[in-house]
Symmetry: C2
Subunit: 459 residues, 2 copies
C-alpha cells in the first residue's frame, strides 16, 4: 500500500465516515475497474459517504495528504474512468441516493449523485414527467454528468450537457460549490456547470444535480424496420434527420449486432441491418411523423414497420437495444470486448459507417456496430480472442483508423463514452492548442493533481 | 493617453492592420460605450482586423505590452461589456463578416464573429434553414456568443449556449484555439466552448463560430392577445409552459410597455397587459397548439387572438416587440433608461412580476416591463429624470430589490444581458464559492489580466 495511505490517514477517514470505509481486497478490486477491457487498478481504500459534507471532509483530507481521489458511481463506464491508476481514495457515491426535490411545475428535480436514471424515472412515474438521458446501463446520474453521457434519446432530448441545470460539487481543496440556478437560462459569468459536465472527476466530485425533466408524451409509438443493405438503413436515418421530423429515437444495429441481440434477448428479428425507431408527441403528431418516416424508409428499400405500441412491448424492444453491448460480448464467450464510439456530422455518417464496415471485414475480426445514428454517433464492440496474439493488434489498428476517420470528417473521438484511458491518445489530435487551455484549467483547479489523476489530461 | 500605448506599440499595431486603426476621438468615443446608461470609457485605440491571424497578432502584442484588449461587435450590449474601463485596444470585429460555410445537410454553418444575426438569416433565406437566437438588436454573432445572448425564441430553440457547436478564439497570449467539432455531441474533455460562451471577452476573443441551424417550420402563426389583469396574462404563460405545448415564442408586455410600443411603432394594440405568441410546426401541429393555448388563455380571461399569418404581418409584429427597448426609452425623452433583466423558475414568475410591479408603483418611477416569460425571464426599463436628484437612488433600490428577489426565488441576476459592469455587485450573492472557481480560471487563462479587465470578475 502506498506510503500516503498510512494508518493516520485511514484514521482521519474513519473519523469522517466511521465504518463506511473498506480496505478489503474484494471491495477495492470491485472499485478498480468498469465494464471495459482497460486493465484494473484498485484504489487503496473505498469510502461510502452519506452527504456532501462528508465528501468535502474526505477530499480535504486527501488534499492535505496529496492522495488521489476517484469518484465512483455504478462502475458502468467503458473507458476506464474509475480505474485508480495511481491508487488513492475511491469515493463510492452509491449511498447518496436521495431524490431531494421534484418541482413538477418547473419540470426539474434535485437529486444526489448516486441516484440511478431508472430509479429517478420510477420515482417520477406519477408526475407525468420523465428524465430522458439513457445510456445502456442503469448508471448513476452523477456519473452520467461526469462523463457527459447520452443515449438513445439524444436526437430529441439532448445529452447530459443539455439536461443539467445546476450542480453541487466538491472541488480539489474540499470547497463545496453550487453552480447554476433553477432558472432556465442565465448569463452570469463562466459556465462552471458545463465545465464540470464531462470532466470525469478530474476537476471536482459532483454530489448533487438539478436536472431538467420532460413531459411524458401523450402518444409514444416504437417500431422496428429492417433493410437488405446497411447503406440504405443509414441513408434512411440521414434523410429522416434532414426532413426535420422530431423523431425521439432512431437507432441502427448492423446484421452482426442483430444476430447478437436475437441470441442474447431471445428475440426473432431478421438478422439484417435494422433501425429501432420511436415517435413521441400528440396522437396527431405521432401519426404525421410516422407517415413521413415510413415514406422515407420505403424510398430506401426498408421493409415493413413492426410496431410496439403497448408499454410492455416498447420496454422489451428498448431493453433489447440497451442490452446490445452485453449481447455483443456474449457473441464470443471468453473473448475480450473493446468498446468504442465516435460521432460525425450526419452528412458523413454513411461514408463513415461503410468504410468502417469494410475495414472490419478486412481485419477478420467480429465487431458488431450499433449506434445513436440520429446524432451521427455509433459504437463498435471489437471482439478479440485472448488466445490469438495478433487479435489485439488488429483491434488497435481498427480502433485507431476509426478515430482518425471521425476526426478527418470533422467529428469527435467520442460521442458519449468519454476519454478515460481509452481516448487519451487522441486528445491532442482532436483539440490541438485547446488542450493547453484544458491543461491550464486543470492546473488551476487541481494544483496538487489529486483529482482522478491520469484521466483526460495525459502527463 | 496611457503610457502603455506609446508610439512604438502603435507602430506594432499598424504593422499588423495597416490603416485599419484609429485613435481619432470620435472613433474611440463610439467604441467606449454600448446602449446602456453605464458611463462611457473610450479605448486608447481601435483596430479593425480582417482575419483571426490579425487578431492573434494584435493580442500577442497586447500580451507583451500588458495592454487591455476589449472585443467589440456592434456595441448593442446593455450592461457595459465593451466600455474600456482601463483603456487599451478595442478590437472591432465588424470587418470579419464572412459567412464561411453553410452545411445544409448537417444544419450548421460557420461564420466570422462580425456577421450579424439578421445578415445570417438573409443569407440562409433559400436554404429552408434559419438561426433562431434573436436579441432585440441586430447584434454580431460573436458578441451574442460572448454574452450568452438569447431572445424571444429561447423557449423553443434555446439560447447561444444551445446553438453554438464550435468556436475559434484567440486567447490572452495570442494562441488561436479551435473548440468543439461539427458533430452534434462529444464527450472529449473539458467544455471549452461553453467556457467561452458568456465570458464577455474576459478569457479570449471569439473570431469564428459554428452554429446550429433549424428548419424553417412548415407553418408559422403569430398572435397578440390582451388581458385586463397582468396576473392573468402571467398565469396564462405559466399554464402554457406547464402544458408542454412546444410554443415558439411567448412574450409579455405590461400596459406601460404596450402604450410605449403603440407610440413608437405606430401600432394600435389595446394598452393592456399583452402576450405576443408564435406557433411553429406542421400545419396540423400549429392548429393543435393554437387550440390548447386559446383554451388556456380563455380560462384566464384573455381576449380575442389577433392573428398575424402572412410574413410581412408577422415581421411587423415582431419588429414592434424587438423595438420594445427603444420604445420604452422614447416614452420619456431626455430621461435615462436603466435596463435590466432577471430570470426565475416559471413557478415563481407570477409572484416575482406582481411584487416587482407593486414596487415600481411605490417608487413613483416609470418602468415598462417586458419579457421572454416562457423561460421565466423579464426585463425592466427604469426611466429616470436626470434633473431629479433622487430618481437614480430610487432606480438603484428598485433594481437591487428585483435582483435579490430573483436570487431568493432560485433565479439568476441576469437571464440574457450578462454581467458587464451592471451586475458585478451580485456575482458573489449568486455564485458564492463558485466565484472563486471563476477567479481561478480567469487567473489561469489571463495571467496578465489584459482581457476585458474589470468585467465579470471584480478586483
Amino acid at each position: 500500500m502506498d506510503m500516503r495511505i498510512g494508518a493516520d490517514f485511514l484514521d482521519e477517514l474513519k473519523a469522517i465516515v466511521g465504518e463506511r470505509l473498506s480496505t478489503a481486497s474484494a471491495v477495492r478490486e470491485h472499485h478498480g475497474h468498469d465494464e471495459s477491457f482497460h486493465p484494473p487498478h484498485p484504489p487503496d481504500v473505498v469510502v461510502f459517504p452519506n452527504t456532501t459534507e462528508e465528501v468535502s471532509a474526505i477530499v480535504t483530507a486527501c488534499f492535505r495528504h496529496r492522495v488521489p481521489v476517484i469518484p465512483f458511481g455504478t462502475g458502468t463506464g467503458i473507458e476506464g474512468q474509475v480505474t485508480a491508476v495511481e491508487g488513492g481514495v475511491c469515493i463510492d457515491l452509491s449511498r447518496m441516493d436521495r431524490i431531494l426535490a421534484v418541482h413538477s411545475a418547473d419540470m426539474d428535480c434535485v437529486v444526489e449523485a448516486g441516484v440511478t436514471r431508472k430509479r429517478l424515472n420510477e420515482h417520477l412515474r406519477d408526475t407525468g414527467l420523465f428524465f430522458p438521458v439513457d445510456p445502456g446501463a442503469d448508471a448513476s446520474l452523477g456519473g452520467m454528468a461526469a462523463t457527459r453521457a447520452s443515449g438513445t434519446n439524444a436526437v430529441r432530448y439532448g445529452t447530459m450537457r443539455d439536461n443539467v441545470l445546476a450542480l453541487t460539487a466538491v472541488m480539489a481543496d474540499g470547497t463545496v460549490i453550487h453552480t447554476g440556478r433553477r432558472a432556465r437560462k442565465s448569463s452570469t459569468g463562466y459556465d462552471v456547470t458545463h465545465l464540470l459536465i464531462g470532466s470525469e472527476g478530474t476537476l471536482g466530485v459532483i454530489t448533487e444535480l438539478t436536472l431538467r425533466l420532460h413531459p411524458v408524451p401523450e402518444a409514444i409509438a416504437a417500431a422496428v424496420v429492417s433493410f437488405t443493405a446497411l447503406g440504405d438503413a443509414v441513408d434512411t436515418v440521414v434523410a429522416t434527420i434532414q426532413s426535420a421530423v422530431p423523431i425521439a429515437r432512431i437507432e441502427l444495429l448492423d446484421e452482426v449486432q442483430m444476430d447478437a441481440v436475437n441470441r442474447y434477448s431471445g428475440t426473432d428479428y431478421p438478422p439484417r441491418p435494422t433501425l429501432f425507431l420511436e415517435f413521441n408527441g400528440t396522437t396527431a403528431s405521432v401519426q404525421e411523423q410516422t407517415k413521413i418516416v415510413k415514406a422515407i424508409s420505403a424510398d430506401h428499400g426498408g421493409g415493413d414497420f413492426h410496431w410496439a405500441l403497448r408499454p410492455e412491448e416498447r420496454n422489451r424492444l428498448w431493453q433489447a437495444r440497451h442490452d446490445a453491448y452485453y449481447a455483443a460480448k456474449a457473441l464470443k464467450p471468453g473473448f475480450d470486448g473493446w468498446t468504442t464510439d465516435i460521432c460525425v456530422p450526419i452528412s458523413r455518417l454513411t461514408a463513415c459507417i461503410m468504410e468502417t464496415k469494410r475495414e472490419i471485414e478486412e481485419s477478420g475480426l467480429t465487431a458488431p456496430l450499433v449506434g445513436h445514428v440520429g446524432v451521427g454517433n455509433f459504437h463498435l464492440i471489437i471482439l478479440t480472442d485472448p488466445d490469438k496474439t495478433d487479435d489485439m493488434g488488429k483491434a488497435r489498428r481498427l480502433h485507431e483508423r476509426l478515430v482518425r476517420r471521425a476526426l478527418d470528417m470533422e467529428g469527435t473521438c467520442s460521442g458519449e463514452h468519454g476519454i478515460g484511458l481509452g481516448k487519451l491518445a487522441f486528445m491532442a489530435a482532436e483539440h490541438g492548442p485547446a488542450l493547453d487551455v484544458m491543461r491550464a484549467v486543470k492546473r488551476a483547479l487541481d494544483p496538487k493533481r489529486i483529482m482522478n489523476p491520469g484521466k483526460i489530461i495525459a502527463d
